[in-house]
Point group: none
Chain length 413, copies 2
């Protein structure tokens, strides 16, 4: 069963707002085995909208349309649908009751412009909207069943789940396929190196579709499975996950799409260990990412963002002569910072970064993109220097922070 | 001049990620007077992509395509474009040099799969990519000039601005109108409250188009001006900015689109003042945002993320009896944290947060969304309690952090 998604409205067309509805709808449809072949967005223009509806009606089995159901003159979905279907608009009693009930429940004035919202194309089935003023409707145009929903995300989501999905499942009948996506998060290789390691994947798993996504600096490997036998689907995905685990080893961060900071948090919690961070160039990003995870207070004790040398010495106990001899960006400094964070907090692990995120501050010896990362733990402490070739402060902060978290993750594994 | 935007990739088609590129491109095109008539998204499918390109080629003057330029087998934009244009792929020397230079500068191995990225449709003009591996290209299909760009937002944005916009302006020739957008950043009102304050804007400035955009928790007021007289355009925008400044007062963060952390940084630098932060519930986000700004080491000295009570006492000198009597989330604790941060770093200002971001940890007295913010400065110290009604940890961290930065900004004004 092939589906298309159409979002309408000048706000989206002109880029004033990002269309997040289409992704939501696509996900829901793909989850029940409907193949989404295309998304389209057009503005509040009757001719453009009607011709787009006609075109979709020639190609697809179902379509979900969002937006253009409001009370104002620039809401033109119903009139465009009527035009494409070659019918007139008529006052729909169910739609009228839906609009009136919503106004009444909210003690709002029911106006003539609201009445416009009850005018549906002849032959349409009204989809009542208990969470907003605009009722939706369903209509066949060409060979395609269209579902028209409001553009307000919360209303659209409610109506899609409560009304549209059931109708689509009924249309699917016994032909319904299962589909499942597995998201394997990796860290440590570029997108192209990841792709090269996977060149013979499709030969080994011809029934799976493979997708790579760079969510800098993580690379997500996505496995898409579709079929009639649910158990077989999961078995294939499990073997494919094992195959990837074997190839990528510790570079695999998670098999369920969760990011590095979640993996680190899970490991710390399982081992009843705690962590304290001493950040310089990452400016608080490591602790920000760690504390985005609910429950992180179980293992995250403390972080010090020590930009100045004074703070490195006074707070973390970095020895002045080390800073004088080697500078702030050095393995010795990083190691002492990690030791200091561990010591003052009593954490199991101390993790530190000191480097040059740019754009200024680089030298020939220590160019922008240089970072020293220190780790102090129960088995002692160490530090290492890295160089990343990004000429972008924000990217450098990200890769520095994630590399530090990855060092801790590997230590915990 | 009519334009279309095409985003490609199974990730977007299936709803795994939201397509934010299309809105960005639409905005940029509309800003220079190009009319965007439609966005389309299709997956990594050569036939589907080629037929979509052919169809767009029949209708529009220009089109911007994103995605599908990577080194792996599921990147099919070049081969689809060649098919639609009825030409073959050939090795493009400029593209090859672009890919090789990027690999070389990053000391990366140049692989065979990277070479694929230099295979462009015959007749295409290479658009070199200095910020990533994937070169883009421009190609005429039907009557339409297509610009193919990478899907990675940072690379797409760079290439659109640096290469594509100039070419489009040249295509516009003398028909070009001037256009200008002013982005006024505000903080402290909801989107609807901001909208209500602006109800009579259009009556006062009928020639300007007004757009509101919630970039949580900031609200951006966008003024779009278009016309043949450049000077007049700027004059109207200046009066409109003054009008808004008068209405919104200190709620205006900037008139040039820059965020709160930049405004705070500029004020600190101008006053030769420095700041130290003591964060609890914001988990490092305040210092992360402050240090995203290049040159922030001039005024940002230090931040301590003190999740545990021990850290609040040992590091920041919060008196144990205060924590015992009032708990960690209290005005007294916040004030002592701010004083502690100021004292140990010697900064001009100390800023602190302590609260409950959720999802757990809330009580009837102090529900999730409660935060106490402390400020210590040359004129003494104070703290205040706030409550925000979000049931979302990440939104709470954002609104807590931005409210703290805003308190410092208003103090500095």
């Amino acid at each position: 069963m092939k589906a298309e998604i159409l979002s309408t409205g000048d706000e989206i067309r002109s880029g004033a707002i990002v269309d997040s509805n289409s992704a939501y709808i696509a996900q829901k449809l793909e989850e029940i085995g409907v193949e989404v072949i295309r998304h389209i967005c057009v503005g509040d223009d009757v001719d453009m909208l009607a011709s787009t509806l006609t075109e979709i009606g020639n190609h697809s089995d179902i379509a979900v349309v969002t937006g253009g159901l409001g009370p104002t003159a620039d809401d033109v979905s119903a009139v465009s649908a009527a035009k494409a279907a070659g019918v007139t608009l008529i006052l729909d009693k169910t739609a009228l009751a839906s609009v009136q009930n919503f106004s009444k429940a909210r003690k709002r004035f029911f106006s003539e412009s609201n009445k416009k919202q009850a005018m549906l194309p002849a032959g349409a089935e009204c989809l009542t909207n208990p969470v907003g003023t605009a009722p939706g409707f369903s209509l066949k145009i060409g060979k395609c069943i269209f579902f028209f929903l409001p553009g307000v995300p919360s209303e659209m989501q409610y109506m899609l789940t409560e009304m549209v999905m059931l109708r689509i499942k009924k249309l699917q009948g016994n032909t319904r396929e299962f589909s499942e996506v597995r998201n394997i998060v990796t860290f440590g290789l570029t997108e192209s190196a990841t792709g090269e390691k996977l060149t013979d994947f499709s030969r080994n798993f011809p029934c799976l579709k493979l997708g790579l996504r760079a969510k800098f600096p993580e690379i997500h490997i996505k496995l898409y499975a579709r079929g009639n036998d649910e158990k077989q689907l999961y078995d294939v995905l499990d073997s494919a996950s094992d195959w990837i685990l074997e190839r990528f080893g510790k570079r695999v961060v998670s098999l369920d799409g969760s990011p590095l900071e979640t993996a680190v948090g899970n490991l710390l919690r399982r081992q009843k260990a705690t962590v304290a961070i001493a950040e310089s160039c990452t400016g608080g990003l490591i602790s920000h990412r760690l504390t985005d995870i609910p429950g992180s207070s179980d293992y995250f004790l403390f972080s010090a963002v020590t930009y100045s040398n004074d703070a490195k010495m006074n707070l973390l106990g970095v020895i002045p002569s080390i800073l004088e001899r080697h500078g702030a960006v050095h393995e010795h400094t990083a190691e002492m910072m990690a030791q200091g964070a561990k010591k003052i907090s009593g954490a199991t692990y101390g993790l530190s970064t000191t480097g040059i995120a740019g754009p200024s501050g680089g030298t020939v010896e220590k160019p922008v993109g240089t970072v020293c990362i220190g780790l102090a733990g129960p088995k002692g402490s160490r530090a290492k220097r890295y160089y990343f070739p990004f000429e972008n402060r924000l990217m450098n902060k990200q890769i520095f922070a994630m590399t530090a978290l990855d060092i801790l993750r590997r230590e915990l594994m």
